[in-house]
């Protein structure tokens, strides 16, 4: 398994936001993470991406311990993410945002650029072409030079996905990627997620749009009050009584 979450807990004071969560995501798998508001989905993503440290449990990326590492080291293990409240670099252009995303993949030493060597210029052209290709993948190639802060909500979300893909992550964490998007944009994100998985990347998808989750995910884990209440293939999860109760409430 590419990403293993083993008995992970996180408490904020007395609040147990995530408790004893265990599941794993394989290579090329799209794994959905759903649950009612406040179930601990975003906290779990923050734990995986190194923004928070778990109070108990282990997180493994490709067999290496990722819990307790600073978030730039987690990224170096091959985990990048998008944010629920979009966090682009607003004064940089869409293209430059994606170029920042390529930071880990680029290996041009600074001295080479300082000496104006042609190898540095070649590397830069390559990075720029890859960034444009990523923007084309999210259908934003014609907006490449626009300041990220001026883009529409849906466009910003797609730039953020392209930026996260810039590092060629092994695991891509998406936190509500379709929030605020129109149906056409949602469809394009759905096909993008499938395309990313076909390339062998794993995707961990937090999403409230249940039809989308049912459509694109290979497996689903359902959280409620920080605990896993169900897991498995989309069809099984949809019929699970605990999931139905969590979403609709129980009859009194």
């Amino acid at each position: 398994m590419l990403l293993s979450i083993e008995g992970v807990s996180r408490a904020f004071g007395g609040v147990r936001a995530v408790e004893d969560v265990t599941f794993a995501v394989g290579a090329g798998e799209v794994h959905g993470l759903i649950g009612p508001n406040g179930a601990g989905k975003t906290t779990l993503l923050n734990l995986v991406s190194g923004l928070l440290r778990p109070t108990a449990g282990r997180i493994l990326v490709g067999g290496a311990r990722a819990d307790g590492l600073a978030s730039h080291r987690v990224a170096a293990l091959g985990v990048t993410r998008t944010f629920q409240n979009i966090r682009l670099f607003p004064h940089l252009s869409a293209l430059e945002n994606v170029l920042v995303g390529e930071h880990l993949r680029r290996d041009a030493p600074l001295w080479r650029r300082m000496l104006c060597l042609p190898a540095a210029a070649r590397e830069e052209r390559g990075a720029r072409e890859r960034a444009l290709a990523l923007l084309a993948q999210v259908r934003l190639e014609d907006r490449a030079q626009e300041q990220a802060g001026n883009l529409s909500y849906g466009e910003q979300r797609r730039v953020e996905i392209a930026r996260a893909l810039g590092a060629e992550p092994r695991v891509l964490l998406l936190d509500e990627p379709t929030a605020g998007m129109n149906p056409a944009e949602v469809d394009s994100v759905a096909s993008l997620i499938r395309a990313v998985a076909r390339l062998g990347h794993s995707v961990l998808l937090v999403e409230h749009n249940v039809p989308l989750v049912m459509k694109v995910c290979d497996r689903i884990t359902v959280l409620n009050f920080g605990r896993v209440i169900a897991g498995g293939a989309p069809g099984d999860v949809a019929r699970d009584q605990a999931v139905v109760d969590a979403y609709l409430g129980t009859r009194r």
Partner: protein
């Protein structure tokens, strides 16, 4: 021809000071461009100035090596200082680094070996506009090459949103520390140059007011581009020259007049040109286009 030579003789000191001040403004810009407001640079400048002065007075080292030492010593000091203080954000970093500047100044005041508050005098004049602008050109080259490359984008990302930058694999601590060290080296270099331009170093020259001068010059010039601090330094260094006439006419003391003018310029820039003088051509162009568009609409 003779007039030109006279003009040069009159103004070469002013030109030299533009170069020194530009280096200092750039040293503040180095940390500002990745979002860190560090005011430690008067302290680093003092270390560079004193190191340069002592080396020239007590050894036979060539001037180039003296300058290299004046830049290297504060850079070395910046590493152990930067590691803890760069964990602070915003105004807390500013306060901690102001503290550092005062520590250096007070240490120099109480250090008998360097004559305490009187400082060192009779330093041979080795620096002129030539060497100063060579150093400035070198610094500008470094900033020019940084911009638009992998490291340059990483710095901009840190300025915009540090945690987000970290989730993309950017080691923000290392980048911030590197720019802190670069700023220290530039401030030290400027300190070394100034010591060999004015024949003397004294603790009073490296107080809080000095680092505020650097910051004001950087902000007035604009910190969105490395050209801004140079422009700001040139403008605010030349301003007193123009004010001399004003002080003749009005009978105001030149000293207070300079402070008044600096304050007014800073206020005007912050209110009307938040991106500094360097953004003026772009703003004028935008304004002209707007007027043209409005007129076309009326016609």
């Amino acid at each position: 021809m003779e007039n030109l030579a006279d003009l040069w003789l009159t103004y070469q000191t002013a030109v030299a000071f533009i170069g020194v001040n530009a280096l200092l403004a750039l040293s503040v810009y180095a940390t500002l461009c990745c979002g860190q407001l560090s005011l430690a640079n008067a302290g680093f400048m003092a270390i560079g100035g004193y190191a340069g002065a002592l080396l020239t007075l007590h050894t036979q080292l060539p001037f180039a090596l003296v300058l290299a030492a004046a830049a290297a010593l504060p850079a070395l000091v910046a590493v152990p200082l930067g590691l803890p203080v760069l964990r602070l954000r915003g105004v807390f970093l500013a306060i901690a680094t102001i503290g550092w500047g005062e520590v250096v100044r007070l240490a120099l005041v109480n250090w008998d070996y360097t004559n305490g508050a009187l400082g060192l005098v009779a330093i041979p004049q080795r620096a002129g506009p030539g060497i100063i602008f060579l150093c400035l050109a070198l610094a500008l080259f470094v900033f020019w090459r940084l911009r638009g490359g992998r490291t340059g984008y990483a710095l901009e990302a840190i300025r915009e949103d540090e945690p987000a930058a970290r989730t993309l694999g950017i080691d923000t601590t290392a980048h911030k520390l590197a720019m802190f060290v670069l700023g220290a080296a530039l401030a030290g270099l400027a300190g070394g140059l100034e010591a060999h331009l004015t024949f003397m170093v004294a603790p009073s020259g490296y107080g809080f007011a000095r680092v505020v001068d650097m910051l004001v010059q950087a902000v007035v010039g604009g910190v969105a581009h490395f050209g801004g601090p140079v422009l700001g330094a040139a403008f605010l260094t030349l301003l007193p020259e123009g004010l001399r006439e004003v002080s003749h006419l009005t009978g105001m003391e030149p000293g207070p007049l300079r402070l008044l003018a600096n304050g007014l310029v800073l206020l005007a820039v912050i209110l009307f040109l938040p991106n500094g003088l360097v953004s003026l051509p772009g703003r004028l162009r935008a304004w002209r286009d707007e007027r043209r568009a409005a007129r076309a609409l009326v016609d």
